[in-house]
C-alpha cells in the first residue's frame, strides 16, 4: 500500500515536472495538472494510510478511524487547483491567440518596441 502511494506520487511529480519544463502551453497545462494530482495524493497520505476506516470518530466502541482533516484539505486543494487550471487554460488560450505561438518563454527581440508602442498608443 505504502509503496503504491509513494511511487504514484513520485511518478506523477516526475511526469509533471518533465512536462512543465517543455515550456509549451499545452504540455505545461498537463504538467501542472499532473503535479496537482500528485500533491492531492500526497496530502491524502499525510494523515497516515488506513484501509476500511471511516473518517468519523465513534463515541462508543472501537476507535478505528482515518484522519478526516487531510480529506478536507484534499477537497479544498482539488477545488482550488481545478479553478486555477481553468484560469490557466483561458490565459494560455488568450496568449496563444494573441501571439500565434504557444511558447511560455518571452525572448522575442521586439518585445520592448511592441510594449512602448502599446503604451503610447493607448
Amino acid at each position: 500500500m505504502e509503496i503504491v502511494v509513494a511511487s504514484s506520487v513520485g511518478v506523477l511529480t516526475a511526469g509533471g515536472v518533465y512536462l512543465v519544463l517543455r515550456l509549451r502551453a499545452f504540455p505545461v497545462i498537463l504538467g501542472l495538472a499532473l503535479m496537482s494530482y500528485a500533491v492531492n495524493v500526497f496530502l491524502f497520505a499525510t494523515g497516515r494510510l488506513a484501509i476500511n476506516a471511516p473518517p468519523v470518530l465513534q463515541l462508543y466502541g472501537e476507535a478505528t478511524y482515518s484522519d478526516p482533516l487531510p480529506q478536507a484539505l484534499v477537497l479544498t486543494a482539488i477545488v482550488i487547483s481545478f479553478g486555477m487550471t481553468a484560469v490557466l487554460v483561458m490565459v494560455a488560450l488568450g496568449a496563444y491567440l494573441e501571439a500565434d505561438h504557444d511558447q511560455i518563454n518571452m525572448d522575442s527581440p521586439n518585445t520592448d518596441e511592441d510594449m512602448s508602442n502599446k503604451e503610447t498608443g493607448a
Binding site: G16, V20, A25, V28, L32, M35, S36, A38, V39, F42, L43, A45, T46, G47, R48, L69, P70, L73, T76, A77, I80, S81, G83, M84, T85, V87, L88, V91, A92, G94, A95, E98, A99, I104, N105, M106, T111, D114, M115, K118, A122
Partner: protein, 248 residues
C-alpha cells in the same frame, strides 16, 4: 472576542461582487464604491491597530470552533500594522489607477482589486497554515485578472508566465503543508510553534524539508534573489506588482 477582526476580510468580499454585478457598466460608480470601501478598510485597520496597540493578541475563532481544530484569525501588533500598510498602499494604488485611467482599460478592475485586498488581508490575519494557502490563492487569482487587465500580446504572454510560475509555486506550498501536517499533526500556526519544539529528533529532518520548501515557495512568490527570473517580464507590464508581493 471582537467581531471587527474579520471585517477587513468581509468588507472587500461583500463589496467586490456588488461592484462586479451592479456597477460594471458605470465606471464612476465603481470608482466611488471602491474608494469608499478602501477608506472604510483603512479606518477599520486603524481601529484594529489601536485595539492591539497594548501588545495583546486577539484571537477570532471562526464558527466558534475551539482553537486547534477550527480555523482562527489572529490579530496582534504585527498583523495590525501590515493591515494598515495594505490599506494605505491600496488607497495610493487606487488613486494612481483612477487618475491615469488604468481602471477603464478592462472591465472588472475594481472588483478584482477588492478581491485582491480581501486575499491580502486574510493572509495577514489568518492563524492557520492551510487557510494561509487558501487566502494566497484568492489574492493570486485576483492578481492574475489584474495582471492581464487591458489585454494585449505582451501582457497576456507575461501573464501566462506569471500564472504558470505561481501554480508551480502553489504545488510546492501544498507539499510543504502536507509535510508539516504529517510531521506535527496540526496546521494551526501557534500550535505548530509548540509542537515543533516537542518534536522527536528523528522527525526533525521532515520539518527541515517543509521549512525549506516553504522558504522556496515564498521566495518564488516574492521574487527573491535566486528565483526572481519571472519578475522583469511581469513588472514591465504591471506596475502594481509590489502590492501583490507584500504578503510574501
Amino acid at each position: 472576542m471582537s467581531h471587527w477582526i474579520i471585517a477587513p476580510v468581509i468588507l472587500p468580499a461583500l463589496l467586490a461582487p456588488i461592484i462586479a454585478f451592479v456597477m460594471r457598466h458605470d465606471i464612476s460608480l465603481a470608482r466611488a464604491a471602491s474608494f469608499a470601501g478602501t477608506i472604510a478598510l483603512a479606518a477599520i485597520t486603524v481601529g484594529l491597530l489601536i485595539m492591539s496597540a497594548d501588545g495583546s493578541t486577539h484571537v477570532y475563532t471562526l464558527g466558534n470552533w475551539p482553537a486547534p481544530f477550527g480555523i482562527v484569525l489572529v490579530l496582534d501588533r504585527l498583523s495590525a500594522i501590515m493591515l494598515l500598510l495594505t490599506a494605505a498602499l491600496a488607497l495610493i494604488v487606487l488613486l494612481h489607477a483612477t487618475a491615469t485611467g488604468w481602471d477603464n482599460r478592462g472591465r472588472h478592475f475594481h472588483a478584482l482589486f477588492q478581491f485582491q485586498i480581501m486575499g491580502i488581508c486574510g493572509a495577514f490575519l489568518t492563524g492557520d497554515a492551510f487557510n494561509l494557502f487558501v487566502f494566497f490563492e484568492v489574492l493570486l487569482i485576483a492578481s492574475y485578472g489584474l495582471m492581464i487587465h487591458g489585454g494585449g500580446r505582451v501582457r497576456l504572454q507575461a501573464g501566462l508566465q506569471y500564472v504558470v510560475m505561481n501554480l508551480a509555486g502553489s504545488t510546492l506550498f501544498l507539499f510543504a503543508l502536507g509535510t508539516l501536517y504529517a510531521a506535527t499533526g496540526t496546521l494551526n500556526i501557534a500550535d505548530l510553534a509548540l509542537k515543533v519544539r516537542e518534536l522527536p529528533v528523528e522527525d526533525a529532518a521532515l520539518i527541515r524539508v517543509a521549512a525549506i520548501l516553504l522558504m522556496v515557495v515564498f521566495a518564488i512568490k516574492a521574487a527573491l534573489f535566486p528565483v526572481q527570473f519571472w519578475l522583469p517580464a511581469t513588472t514591465r507590464t504591471r506596475r502594481r506588482l509590489w502590492l501583490r508581493c507584500l504578503p510574501s
